[in-house]
């Protein structure tokens, strides 16, 4: 428990956490509220589920991934890992505490984000929230269950933290998942379409293609959740191994 208290204090005692949390809520509000007020009038109708899925979008999650990367990024950048491990020499305690606090942070921020989106929905003009809504859905897939938004967000942050642990570079922990989700996978899909399906196997193995398919419970991708989970768990295991094997 002491390691969790340590991490909790570490998390909230730097300004960057507060700044990124506020920016996350601001971006969530903009992306959630925007489609209700802007654009083609025919598109200004949103479902509650579509609205609440807003903070599962990578553009929102990138803010949380900055904080997730800080869990180890600041430790390595400022040499604090040596203080941390002097206090908690059992590295498994440190890893469990960091992962637990990250889970708590993502959960809290997701629920606060949903509260903000709920207020936006409640304040929206009559008729803009409807079961027949077609409003802009910024997630790759419309989530079938809201808990998936939370799990997807946590998985994204675990990936960011894992990359930071492996590379010992905070910026790479933020940039690599973002680039993969928004650019690299799109390029791979583009090349695949030009190759007459020869690269379909590669597209079908991409993390965020599968993550989004899992979010939307795509019927043609029954194993999407497993493939997405394999990417996240794999990255986390490599990161854990490097954390245990390398010098602090």
């Amino acid at each position: 428990m002491a390691a969790v208290v340590y991490e909790w204090r570490r998390l909230w005692s730097v300004r960057a956490t507060w700044v990124m949390s506020v920016v996350y809520l601001g971006v969530t509000a903009l992306l959630g509220g925007g489609p209700l007020y802007l654009g083609d009038p025919g598109m200004r109708v949103q479902t509650w589920k579509g609205l609440y899925s807003t903070n599962g979008n990578v553009l929102c999650l990138v803010m949380l991934s900055v904080v997730a990367s800080q869990f180890f990024g600041h430790e390595y950048r400022y040499g604090l890992i040596r203080l941390t491990l002097s206090e908690f020499p059992a590295r498994e305690r440190v890893l469990v505490a960091k992962t637990s606090v990250l889970a708590a942070y993502v959960t809290i921020m997701t629920f606060v984000g949903w509260s903000v989106l709920g207020m936006i929905g409640a304040l929206a003009p009559e008729g803009r929230i409807s079961t027949s809504g077609v409003g802009l859905n910024l997630s790759g897939g419309q989530p079938s269950d809201m808990w998936q938004v939370l799990v997807f967000g946590f998985a994204y942050c675990v990936l960011a933290m894992s990359i930071t642990m492996i590379t010992r570079n905070l910026a790479l922990g933020v940039v690599l998942p973002l680039l993969t989700a928004t650019l690299i996978e799109g390029l791979v899909q583009g090349f695949s379409s030009l190759s007459n399906g020869k690269l379909d196997w590669l597209v079908n193995a991409l993390p965020f293609v599968n993550g989004n398919a899992w979010l939307g419970k795509a019927p043609d991708s029954p194993n999407a959740g497993l493939i997405f989970a394999a990417w996240i768990v794999g990255a986390y295991l490599i990161a854990t191994l490097s954390f245990f094997k390398r010098d602090a």
Partner: protein, 304 residues
């Protein structure tokens, strides 16, 4: 708390940084950890704390560090003056470090006052000087009043008053029965501070003994005698197999002997002494004699 370092060994690719290093740190004493630049002092400290992976082990009162709880009441370590987040206030930094031992806010304030940082407690340490960073690091190490203090070059960047304060503090800390291991290359300072020394060069142990015994290793350590009958005393000593060197008309210099022994000889033979003193080599002299060949990085382009 007694620290036993047993066979620590560490390789960095082609460099054998620490080689089968074993020594003990006794409670109630300040142990100086000395060695030239790159000799492996910091690596050894990190190995002792389990921060680096290597072979060998370090026992604290017969147990591994992980077997102690809370660890911060066992060992307080200060390894670098810049180990803090530049945007986290000094107060928040210590509050965070106090989590494991359940340190109160009052104790955090007390320690900040002790190291003279109470006026900047709510300031971000990014703009701290090296000396202020050292104080913050020391504050973190002593926060939970640990049984063992391990400090790596804590006097770097401190002004003379602060160095004197640090010396007095560490001596007092050890006098309460706790163990203090402190590395430094400020040898004159270490001579005033340490009761015992551990000296390494190129990762190998050169000496691990009391300061007085270490200083006695030097060829420069001698007994100086001034007497009206210096010539007769010299002859008497010669007859006993003790060689002396005449140093002026009435003065003898005798190596490898104690003042007690020479005094006894003079008294037994009725020789009146004007002076009987021990001429001790400085720590710097002995250190340089013993570690000269073990210097990893040498000035003047004579790198070995």
């Amino acid at each position: 708390m007694r620290i036993e370092v047993l066979g620590l060994d560490k390789h960095f690719k082609n460099v054998h940084a620490v080689q089968d290093l074993s020594f003990t740190v006794e409670p109630g004493r300040v142990t100086g950890f000395l060695g030239p630049n790159g000799s492996g002092k910091s690596t050894t400290m990190r190995l002792m704390l389990g921060l680096d992976n290597g072979s060998g082990q370090t026992l604290f009162d017969g147990k591994k560090l992980t077997a102690h709880s809370p660890v911060t009441r066992t060992v307080g370590a200060h390894l670098d003056a810049k180990f803090f987040h530049p945007k986290r206030t000094a107060y928040s930094h210590l509050r965070m470090l106090g989590a494991e031992a359940g340190i109160s806010k009052a104790r955090v304030n007390e320690v900040l006052q002790l190291v003279g940082l109470e006026s900047v407690a709510k300031k971000r340490p990014g703009g701290f000087s090296l000396g202020m960073g050292q104080r913050l690091g020391l504050a973190g190490a002593i926060l939970a009043e640990p049984q063992v203090l391990m400090l790596d070059e804590p006097a770097n960047g401190l002004d003379p008053q602060s160095i004197q304060w640090l010396r007095d503090f560490l001596k007092f800390y050890a006098s309460t029965g706790k163990s203090v291991l402190v590395s430094s290359h400020l040898l004159s300072e270490m001579q005033l501070l340490a009761d015992d020394v551990v000296v390494i060069a190129r990762g190998k142990l050169i000496a691990a003994e009391s300061m007085s015994k270490f200083l006695g290793r030097s060829s420069g350590s001698a007994v100086v005698v001034r007497a009206g009958e210096a010539t007769r005393l010299g002859q008497l000593l010669h007859n006993m197999g003790i060689e002396s060197t005449a140093n002026g008309l009435n003065t003898l210099t005798i190596t490898n002997q104690t003042t007690d022994r020479i005094g006894e000889v003079a008294y037994a033979n009725g020789i009146k002494l004007s002076e009987l003193s021990s001429q001790t080599a400085s720590l710097e002299t002995v250190f340089l004699e013993l570690t000269d060949s073990g210097q990893e990085y040498r000035l003047g382009g004579e790198a070995k």
